[in-house]
């Protein structure tokens, strides 16, 4: 396959960026999207040019590091991560636009790499459970009803990639935050911090400069892990409950 790529190039956070055009040839339909970019970078290095910076780690769809907006879609045209997207989803001769996640809370570091530490700070604000260290407790000591376990697992699938923020017209992190809150709040292990967790995580989300939810639904369409839109309603329910039950006045 021969492709024309229009790639966002930006030297550093404060620099102006532009779309630069590159031609790549000899792309196999079986290559992943990131392997296609590796091919481009090999060419660029051989020509003595600066390779395109992009994020990746596991390349098997589980770490959440890869992050590209491809032809206007976060993670491209298939419902999966960019690393699991293959070139057979494109046609020979296509022009492909590649841009970074765009949100105030995700500043561009270089080219296609953005800084997602705002997500880490949301997790630090309450996305954990407090347990005493020592030997692991007996698993059967804390029964979890099957529907609750399913609900927790569904939300635990979030890999923190940020596609939801990238797709949202308001740069909102509500889907990510709701996945994390719902995952822990439904479980008995998460119960002691149930109220503070949702209040603190939503508070941190606002403090990081993410937008609010207007129920546009773009996030759930983009999410590679299928976190559903009603998760946001479930978190809102937790938040409203916490404002009534909070012991912090």
């Amino acid at each position: 396959m021969r492709l024309t790529l229009r790639v966002w190039r930006q030297r550093h956070t404060d620099a102006d960026g532009t779309m630069s055009t590159y031609e790549v040839d000899g792309i196999s339909p079986d290559m992943s999207f990131l392997e296609m970019l590796d091919t481009l970078n090999e060419d660029l290095i051989l020509r003595g040019e600066d390779p395109v910076a992009f994020d990746h780690d596991c390349r098997e769809g589980i770490c959440g590091a890869c992050s590209l907006v491809i032809n206007g879609d976060a993670h491209g045209p298939e419902r999966t991560t960019t690393c699991q997207l293959h070139m057979r989803s494109f046609k020979d001769g296509d022009t492909i636009d590649i841009e970074p996640w765009r949100a105030a809370a995700f500043p561009v570091v270089k080219d296609l790499v953005v800084d997602r530490s705002s997500f880490d700070r949301i997790i630090q604000a309450g996305g954990y459970i407090s347990v005493p260290t020592g030997s692991a407790p007996e698993a059967h000591a804390t029964p979890v009803p099957k529907p609750d376990a399913d609900f927790a697992f569904e939300h635990a699938e979030c890999i923190g990639c940020g596609a939801c923020v990238a797709a949202c017209p308001n740069g909102s992190a509500m889907l990510f935050t709701s996945a994390k809150v719902n995952h822990l709040n439904v479980l008995p292990q998460g119960a002691p911090e149930r109220e503070t967790r949702v209040l603190d995580m939503v508070g941190q989300m606002d403090a990081e400069g993410f937008g609010g939810c207007t129920l546009a639904g773009e996030c759930a369409t983009a999410c590679p892990k299928g976190i559903p839109l009603p998760s946001i309603a479930a978190m809102n329910r937790e938040w409203l409950r916490a404002t009534r039950h909070s012991r912090r006045g």
């Binding site: 229009r6 966002w8 779309m19 907006v69 032809n71 206007g72 879609d73 636009d97 841009e99 765009r102 949100a103 105030a104 809370a105 949202c168 017209p169 308001n170 740069g171 909102s172 209040l199 939503v202 508070g203 989300m205 606002d206 400069g209 993410f210 937008g211 609010g212 939810c213 207007t214 129920l215 546009a216 639904g217 773009e218 369409t221 559903p228 839109l229 009603p230 946001i232 309603a233 479930a234 809102n236 329910r237 937790e238 938040w239 409203l240 404002t243 009534r244 909070s246």
Partner: protein, 222 residues
């Protein structure tokens, strides 16, 4: 607790949802009241008079009406201020747009902000037209039936009201369902029912409100 709610994007959205639902409830009653016009001048004017004597003798003349007016004013102000503040946050959170653009959200979703502004302007015009009668030529105080005919006797009266009730339909279609999500009532199993209810409410309000100018234009009500 009021501080927690007002300072949070989720809380402010709750204020929008509750104030929106209060206005929605009022609009359903208002629309049904308007339909009395189809039963003639006496019944319509009598109904308008009853609204003012509502609650008597426990309440004084027009007290109930003023209670409703104060409540609605609070709802409109809270709704508009939250809308403005939340919209500013949303726009700031997405400073640069994508070069490769896509329009995917529905028309009703995309027009919440401008549709809301149109509704706000319409509320002002509507009050000047049929409450204070400031902009209504040929209006006589105390004759609501005749004043409605005067409004819909002008082309701009018809145009303004029809555009406004259409905008209202779109606003309710996204707004009612949104409010359910904001208040935590939405869930995967209820989603279809809530969307159907939003569409039904939007249609009922738009058709109900529009029926009056259409009836005057076609000479059904005269």
């Amino acid at each position: 607790m009021a501080r927690i709610i007002w300072d949070s994007s989720v809380g402010k959205k709750t204020v929008m949802a509750v104030s929106g639902l209060v206005m929605l409830l009022y609009l359903v009653a208002h629309m049904l009241g308007n339909l009395k016009i189809f039963f003639g001048a006496d019944e319509f004017n009598g109904y308008a008079h009853w609204l003012r004597t509502l609650g008597e003798p426990a309440l004084h003349y027009e007290w109930a009406l003023w209670g409703v007016r104060v409540g609605l004013l609070a709802a409109v102000v809270l709704h508009a201020v939250s809308a403005y503040q939340l919209s500013r946050r949303d726009i700031k959170a997405r400073p640069s747009t994508y070069v490769h653009k896509r329009l995917r959200t529905s028309y009703a979703t995309r027009t919440m902000r401008w549709g809301g502004v149109i509704l706000g302007l319409f509320i002002v015009w509507h009050l000047l037209d049929l409450t204070t009668l400031t902009v209504n030529e040929n209006a006589q105080p105390g004759h609501p039936y005749e004043n409605v005919l005067a409004t819909f006797g002008t082309w701009y009266g018809n145009a303004i009201y029809l555009v406004a009730v259409l905008a209202l339909g779109f606003h309710i279609r996204h707004g009612f369902w949104s409010a359910a999500q904001t208040l935590g009532v939405g869930s995967a199993t209820r989603d279809r029912a809530l969307k159907a209810a939003a569409t039904a409410l939007a249609l009922a309000l738009t058709v109900g409100f529009a029926s009056v100018p259409v009836a005057v234009m076609t000479g059904w009500v005269s």
